[in-house]
């Protein structure tokens, strides 16, 4: 579905006269393969190149070297540009800066309008998309009157209305409160499990990554680690070296293990730890 081969991207830093003073290697030889229907999380701290990677998948940026192929279409091929942008939708970080319409339903209709979808079908798509993200009752409202989580769900609906096969979410929860974060992650998981849409979630919240099928950890423009969340998070030391945290339970389990308790690697949830310690799952909060 998504294939990146030896993908590199350089930004040129220019001085006031427009001369290149420094070349920043935002991505270095990234190899990535995502299969249809997967839920992928990409982790990394600021400047690790994860947003740059996301923009390549949507053909908003083009490789300096290497190639990105979406569903058999090379992103550098101008003829398939719009098809790629339709198939690989993108949700950005700031909900205010990606809502174009002044009414929720008009914003969701923006993508299909651009694609030239006939009017009656736009209405069907808008209704369907808003229902999927649970925002149908707010369809006539102004986006300015919604909470952050609701706005982000509208943005997701706007992407779904274009009938994509894959949605890239570039830190969709970074500007939200905990309640809003939960709403958005729930919507993303539902899309993946119910609608079968491939999700690429870029985040720096570790607890959002535990739901993924596979996790990629990026640092300095390179993919440093990859695997299932269990595999990646069990390497606590390596994660720390990349200045990344692991979920708190995982950390606790790791500390307990160091003190001599025998526990399995890569514990991801409270329940798992409780079970491993032989406690009742419900009482496991202690």
């Amino acid at each position: 579905m998504i294939l990146a081969k030896k993908l590199s991207h350089n930004f040129n830093k220019r001085d006031d006269d427009g001369n290149v003073v420094e070349v920043i290697h935002a991505l270095k030889d990234v190899d990535l393969e995502v299969r249809a229907g997967e839920f992928i999380a990409v982790l990394g701290h600021n400047g690790s190149g994860k947003s740059t990677l996301a923009k390549h998948i949507n053909a908003l940026l083009f490789p300096s070297d290497g190639e990105v192929v979406i569903d058999g279409m090379d992103t550098r091929d101008a003829a398939s540009l719009w098809k790629i942008r339709q198939e690989a939708g993108m949700v950005f970080q700031n909900p205010d800066n990606q809502i174009i319409g002044q009414v929720v339903e008009e914003d969701v209709g923006f993508g299909p309008e651009n694609m030239g979808v006939p009017t009656p079908e736009i209405w069907e798509r808008v209704e369907e998309s808003l229902r999927i993200v649970g925002m149908l009752e707010h369809r006539k409202k102004s986006p300015n009157h919604l909470s952050g989580g609701q706005k982000q769900r509208v943005s997701i609906a706007g992407v779904i209305a274009m009938h994509p096969r894959c949605i890239i979410m570039d830190e969709p929860t970074a500007m939200l409160d905990p309640g809003g974060r939960k709403e958005v992650i729930r919507a993303a998981r539902a899309l993946n499990q119910v609608e079968g849409i491939t999700i690429i979630l870029i985040t720096h919240y570790m607890d959002e990554a535990i739901y993924a099928d596979r996790v990629f950890v990026m640092d300095g423009g390179e993919v440093r680690m990859s695997g299932t969340p269990r595999e990646v998070f069990s390497r606590v030391k390596e994660m720390k070296a990349l200045h990344l945290d692991v979920p708190q339970v995982t950390l606790l389990a790791d500390e307990l293990k160091k003190r001599g308790l025998s526990l399995p690697d890569g514990i991801l949830t409270d329940q798992e730890l409780a079970a491993a310690l032989g406690l009742e799952a419900g009482a496991g909060k202690a």
Binding site: W82, R85, F92, I100, E106, G109, T119, I122, N144, V159
Partner: protein, 267 residues
């Protein structure tokens, strides 16, 4: 609180006028303004007044909202009347020192005042019954012929609607920046005008930077959603004329024709 500001001055209610196609209202208002400048006799003004009164009745907008639209221009109105009254040459009615009020001056001032009042009431009525969004759509549709002259009609309309969408967001941001600066001891309330204007700089700089950043983000989000200008675009809410719209056009045409006839007959 800032979230709730209404743009333009749309008055939400359900009336025949609210339901009319925005194109009809836009063109209708335009024709009405032309008619106002065609008529020059009491009969003509009476016709316009009756038409306007009928429209106000149809719109179901409370009268005080409509008269509220007059407030900002009262000053302008007063000046116009004042100068017309005093400086129109003709047969003097009253003379004080070297200034005299003439018969022509009085009639001209009254006509001018009536024209301005009707004009403002008419346009206010349009903005009260049409959302800014509908107006933008109507403007795009009405100006479409200009595309032949390479006027970027779709782009202008898109810019207007994006501006409308971002006004409340930027207002809120201004409020936030002001509070942040005040918390650090900035003073926006004292001093003379120049001083106060100078003190606004620390608000404007971050506001502009943020506006540019937002513009950049938004452009990228629009491209990601396949936006590529007006070509090949369909509409979710296309403007379609209904029966009421044709009736409205006929009424406007009839009123306009009457105005022209009154002028020609000189009644």
């Amino acid at each position: 609180m800032l979230k709730d500001i209404t743009l333009g001055q749309y008055y939400q209610t359900d009336s025949v006028l609210h339901r009319l196609d925005p194109r009809v209202k836009l063109i209708g208002t335009f024709v009405f303004i032309i008619a106002l400048f065609i008529v020059n006799t009491p009969a003509g003004y009476l016709l316009c007044a009756v038409f306007l009164a009928a429209m106000i009745k149809l719109s179901r907008v409370p009268l005080r909202y409509i008269l509220g639209g007059m407030k900002p221009v009262l000053f302008l109105l007063a000046i116009t009347v004042f100068f017309n009254l005093l400086f129109t040459p003709g047969t003097p009615l009253v003379s004080v020192w070297r200034i005299s009020i003439t018969r022509e001056g009085v009639s001209f001032a009254v006509k001018m005042a009536a024209r301005l009042c009707f004009l403002i009431t008419g346009t206010t009525l349009m903005t009260l019954t049409t959302t800014p969004n509908q107006l933008t759509d109507a403007l795009e549709a009405v100006l479409r012929p200009l595309k032949a002259l390479h006027v970027p009609v779709h782009e202008i309309a898109m810019m207007m609607s994006i501006a409308l969408r971002f006004i409340p967001i930027l207002m809120e941001e201004t409020d936030k920046i002001m509070k942040a600066q005040m918390a650090r001891g900035a003073d926006f309330e004292t001093g003379n005008v120049i001083r106060r204007a100078k003190n606004m700089v620390p608000i404007l700089v971050p506001l502009f930077i943020s506006a540019f950043r937002r513009a950049n983000d938004l452009a990228m989000a629009m491209e990601a959603r396949c936006y590529r200008g007006g070509e090949g675009r369909t509409r979710m809410k296309p403007l379609v004329y209904g029966r009421a719209d044709y009736t409205a056009y006929s009424v406007i045409a009839a009123v306009f024709a009457c105005c022209v006839l009154i002028r020609a007959a000189g009644i």
